[in-house]
Amino acid sequence: MTLGWYLAVSAIIFSIGVGGVLVRRNPLVILLCLELMLNAGNLALVTFSRMYGGEGGQIFALIVMVVAACEVTVGLGLIVAISRRNLPVDVDELHELNG
């Protein structure tokens, strides 16, 4: 397969993630959709690494995995804190910061 196909798959997965973040209201599922977008970026990075024959893109993909793990940790901590305070786990209800 030519490498353009991989980039097309990456683009499709990224836009599915964008749609999920906009449509869903459960913060857990929003975090899952963020993971989708990060993984689409990873796929593009690994594809470019293959395209140019250097490992730099793979290193970048591993760093993105670390960042995704950190994001998951903090995001899930926030969700646990929300549910401890008996607030609704719904991003439309949690709009205190709107001002």
Binding site: A8, C33, M51
Partner: protein
């Protein structure tokens, strides 16, 4: 052969991604994401990124998803459908627009390698040894920053998810531990830590003998705490 594998993995990845968005129950969404991640690891293998594929399966599909499953089990609950939400119409439209725009960017990009099978394969490309060497030489700064970021995230998660109310119930508190029924002069920690002195003071105050284990635990604990408070006040 690689074409067949590519199409199987790509279709599984896209179906998994759609499942994450479409599943009503967050638990099934997490399982769909696991399917998506595993098929993405297959795509990485086709791109000769063996170490990234292994890390994807072990770290992502293993550790991170277990974390998700725990939190889904803790929070739980499927979301109810609410009508009249403008985002339910605008969101998919925007997603389609982003997809079209990305495809235009892909077709319009003058990348020389986009219609090729990639650079010539070098032996050892994407091996753990080379990744590790690059991490400790060319990309050392990124490596160190990543470790610092992990530390910050771990501390942040503990601070965010800790219990804020302090001791809500009496169970496990100091007073209950001290007041527990135990035989005297058996070398318990309470004797070693000097709570025996407290009992002796109580005895002196009563003017009689205060047998350890004679009073009810709750009352004794209350008496001990009261006498300690008195010492602090004095």
């Amino acid at each position: 052969m690689s074409e067949v594998l590519f199409f199987i993995a790509a279709i599984a990845a896209i179906v998994g991604a759609v499942g994450v968005v479409a599943m009503r129950n967050p638990f099934y969404a997490v399982l769909a994401l696991v399917c998506h991640l595993v098929s993405l690891a297959a795509l990485f293998l086709l791109l000769r990124a063996e170490f990234v594929a292994a890390a994807q399966v072990v770290v992502y599909a293993g550790a991170v998803m277990v974390l998700y499953v725990f939190v889904v089990a803790y929070v739980g609950g499927a979301e109810e459908i609410r009508s009249g939400n403008a985002m339910r119409v605008l969101g998919p439209l925007f997603a389609v627009a982003v997809a079209i725009e990305l495809c235009i960017a892909l077709l319009g990009s003058a990348l020389s390698g986009i219609n090729s099978q990639g650079a010539a394969y070098k032996p050892g490309f994407g091996e753990p040894a080379r990744i590790g060497k690059l991490f400790l030489t060319d990309y050392l700064f990124a490596f160190e920053v990543a470790s610092l970021l992990l530390l910050v995230a771990a501390i942040g998660a503990i601070v965010l998810a800790r219990r804020r109310r302090g001791l809500e119930d009496d169970d496990g508190s100091i007073a209950r531990v001290i007041g527990e029924r135990r035989p005297s002069y058996t070398g318990t920690m309470a004797e070693g830590a000097g709570t025996r002195q407290v009992y002796q003071e109580i005895e002196a105050g009563h003017g009689g003998s205060f047998e350890i284990g004679s009073a009810e635990p709750k009352e004794r604990a209350a008496a001990v705490v009261a006498s300690e408070d008195g010492e602090d006040g004095a």
